[in-house]
């Protein structure tokens, strides 16, 4: 990615707003997520024309229309594939996929896991409201077991996907989670996602005020969030709580919440977050922590270096080209067995 160091083109969040009226419901979590992205983009030192926002279908997928960048509002579930094509064709672009929980994990689940497996350098932001917003309130693959929705009036009888588990299971190298209104952390995460080479998946717990209001309130609520969210930072101990008196330890093969200063636990016993370790074991456990047994992990849970699909593709092209005997299509057509008719 070519950096744009020219100060005269220093961009601001405003430069990333398009002239289209934003049509999300007032109070929808999507507004805040977009604000965080629009604030994060100017900090990336990438010229505006190099951003491409690509989405599927859903409330969240309207996102590209509101961005003054190149954008492509695709078809339901297929944004990963469209974005993979764009990035593979031109690795110089910063390609962002905006998607919902249904778009990415129901109809588009297959594309998501394969994109992650290939490690195409996309930044995938999943707006997880645990509901189908655009189609007005049917349950989604992330709706909690038993959730009552328009298509599950007696409660769902399906186990939900946990995006982190899915992504890490598909050999994901970067996974982060946050909550829609957490502006500061979200900007931090988007910056890191952009820097990370390879597929970065960011799950944002998003509130749909209309069809699934307060789905994340238990952990997002201001009153309780310090006690119910664990903010992970690479190299820092996993301490949380209003009084920063709780932490995570590894006991046997399992994680456990302990109180510092109680039962003989000191700060030294608390796990230190290592987002960069290749072994997905602890990352998976962290991603799967659920309230009330655990706090919900937010921040960058996993960030592991690995070569990207599009880079390997270009590298292979360079290598094969170097050894090729062909300069032009004429050479190719004349290759192999030919004969002359006189």
């Amino acid at each position: 990615m070519a950096n744009n160091n020219d100060q005269s083109t220093k961009l601001t969040a405003k430069d990333f707003k398009s002239d289209q009226e934003v049509r999300w419901c007032p109070g929808c979590g999507d507004h805040a997520i977009m604000n965080a992205i629009q604030r994060a983009l100017p900090q990336m030192n990438i010229p505006r024309e190099k951003f491409a926002f690509i989405s599927g279908i859903g409330c969240s997928s309207r996102f590209p229309y509101y961005m003054n960048t190149y954008g492509f509002h695709g078809i339901h579930g297929r944004a990963s594939a469209i974005a993979s094509g764009t990035k593979s064709a031109n690795p110089d672009l910063s390609v962002w996929q905006i998607t919902g929980d249904g778009d990415s994990m129901a109809i588009g689940g297959n594309h998501l896991i394969h994109t992650v497996r290939r490690n195409v350098d996309l930044n995938i932001v999943i707006f997880n409201n645990e509901i189908y917003g655009l189609t007005k309130g049917q349950y989604s693959p992330t709706s909690k077991y038993g959730a009552v929705t328009k298509t599950s009036p007696y409660g769902t009888i399906e186990n939900p996907f946990h995006p982190g588990e899915l992504v890490i299971g598909a050999q994901g190298k970067f996974f982060a989670r946050s909550v829609d209104l957490n502006m500061k952390l979200n900007q931090e995460i988007f910056l890191e996602a952009q820097k990370h080479k390879g597929t970065s998946v960011v799950e944002i717990l998003q509130n749909c005020v209309i069809y699934n209001d307060k789905a994340h309130a238990v952990i997002a609520d201001k009153k309780h969030r310090e006690d119910r969210q664990l903010v992970l930072r690479h190299g820092e101990p996993m301490i949380f709580g209003k009084n920063r008196d709780k932490g995570i330890v590894l006991e046997g093969l399992r994680l456990k919440v302990v109180e510092i200063g109680k039962d003989g636990y000191t700060e030294d016993d608390i796990l230190v977050h290592d987002a960069k370790t290749k072994d997905p074991g602890i990352h998976l456990m962290l991603a799967n922590m659920q309230y009330p047994e655990f706090p919900v992990a937010v921040g960058i849970i996993r960030s592991v270096e690995a070569d990207t699909y599009e880079h390997k593709l270009e590298e292979q092209i360079d290598q094969v080209r170097e050894q090729s005997e062909y300069q032009s299509v004429d050479d190719l057509l004349q290759s192999g067995n030919t004969w002359e008719v006189k």
């Binding site: 229309y65 960048t69 492509f72 695709g74 993979s84 067995n337 008719v341």
Partner: protein, 615 residues
Amino acid sequence: MSKKTDVIEREEVVVRFAGDSGDGMQLTGTLFSDTSAFIGNDLSTFPDYPSEIRAPQGTIGGVSGFQVHFGHKQVNTPGDYADVLVAMNPAALKANLKLIKSGGTIIVDQDSFTEKNFRKAGYQTDDPIKEDQLEGYNIIKAPISTLTKETLKDEGLDPKSILRSKNMFALGMVYWLFDRPLKYTEQFFERKFKKKPKVIDANKKVLEAGYNYAETVELLTPTYRVSPAPIEKGIYRNIDGNKATAWGFIAASEKSGLQLFCGSYPITPASEILQELSTRRDFGVKTFQAEDEIAGICTAIGASFAGSLGVTTTSGPGLALKSEALGLAVMAELPLVVVDVQRGGPSTGLPTKPEQSDLLQALYGRNGESPVVVIAASTPSNCFYYAFTAAKIALEHMVPVVLMTDGFLANGSEPWRIPKMADYPDIHPPFVPQGEKDWMPYARDPEKLSRTWAVPGQPGYEHRIGGLEKDELKGSVSHDPQNHERMVYLREEKVNRVVQDVPDLKVEGEPSGEILLVGWGGTYGHLRTALDELQKEGHSVGLAHFNYIRPLPANTHQVLNQFNRIVVCELNRGQFIDYLAMQHPHHTYLKYNKVQGQPFTTVEITEHVKKLLEA
């Protein structure tokens, strides 16, 4: 090499090689075709194989065949019936009985004529010759397996490898029968097994042994000679339809200066296009083997969005999966080529057999008013030209194009006079020049109605596209009813205006008269041969063969007007005829259809036309 008694000059000959799918019949047939091409025959080939890789050995279902038709004159089809059949086992004999000319020559591996194999092939008795009433045929029973083993007994090869080369013994026999040199096939061994001198040696020995055997046993007389064909001067090569398609796209990439991106999912009989393009990293080709057909087309659309030549290749079932995304390309007005190598349907149908039953799917198989350009190649080698042309139209008109071929063209091969790229036109996509004032994404070229193309990375032209209805100029989302209707019209009219690039329809044979044969796509060779034969017999017949389906050539009506009756011949239940009758209602159309997963035979067509003329 040897002196021959009783050499018969022939205008043309059809040879069919048949055996178990593990017997290497496709290779045998290909090697024979290559040699025939090198010595100057014109030819056409048709591989006919089962969809299972190794169906139960020795059974009819497992028989794999390769037919080659070569001649001293122009050859347009792989031939209806074989003059010579090589049958490596009883099942191969039984499966191909109907495809041999009455009184033709049949070479069988006598060693395979065992009780067990007779039962597997479904023979009631132990004498297939009698059971199938083949007494009038020239049957050559040769102990091919035994003699192959004998030839290689001192080579230190394992018994399996030894038996595997028995196809080369059979090939040697056929070379003698048609007075063909061995050297091209020997050169092939040398290239193919460069690092295995032992294998080169063994194959050469067996080939030669077969040749010598045929010479020694006088059973094989008379032998045939087919002299070189008087074909146009130039440098030639053999090419099959799938390779020609892949190369056509590479040529379009060179002529447009755009990177070629192919997102695809493997499917018979289209996979070889993706395979060939994957090899062509040296031309900067980016191939993406997607997780399914939907991802295949979507990656191609994503690459188009980024400014590449986006291509996706598939067959009928895959085209069905791509339909929603193809609609997205229609709406986004991005260039895209979708190749449909048709096979027998519906559903999984007959994966390895040709049919023309996807035409209506290509034309209409999408939600909404969703017009695309549809063109069809008509010979294995002109897949190159039509792939190039499909890409040129897509790029210059900012429109999706479906290129139809079929299993017959894809796997069939023929000699091809290699074109010079200097004779091909440049391709000029409508990119927005830098510095354009007040550019609007959906403003159109007044002639073509194509929109201009700004690609991510170009400063100042940031814009959004997508599947929601677009404002006529700005391209932003619009729900305005009048705007929608205008956009529907514009997208359709844009496709119609491609007619400016479409050459006039040619009539072969009589320019006017009683009967006009009409075909499209892969049936050209058979229709053309039928036409020649009907004309030779003095019938008033013409042939109009369509490569451009949507839009149809501008002179279509005039051509149709010159004939009393129009007979539309298709390998389906009549899809083109319905389409044609819809576009040009004021003609009398008759249909002639075949849906057997097999090409037409020339005889079928000539007989049908003669019946019509008599009635």
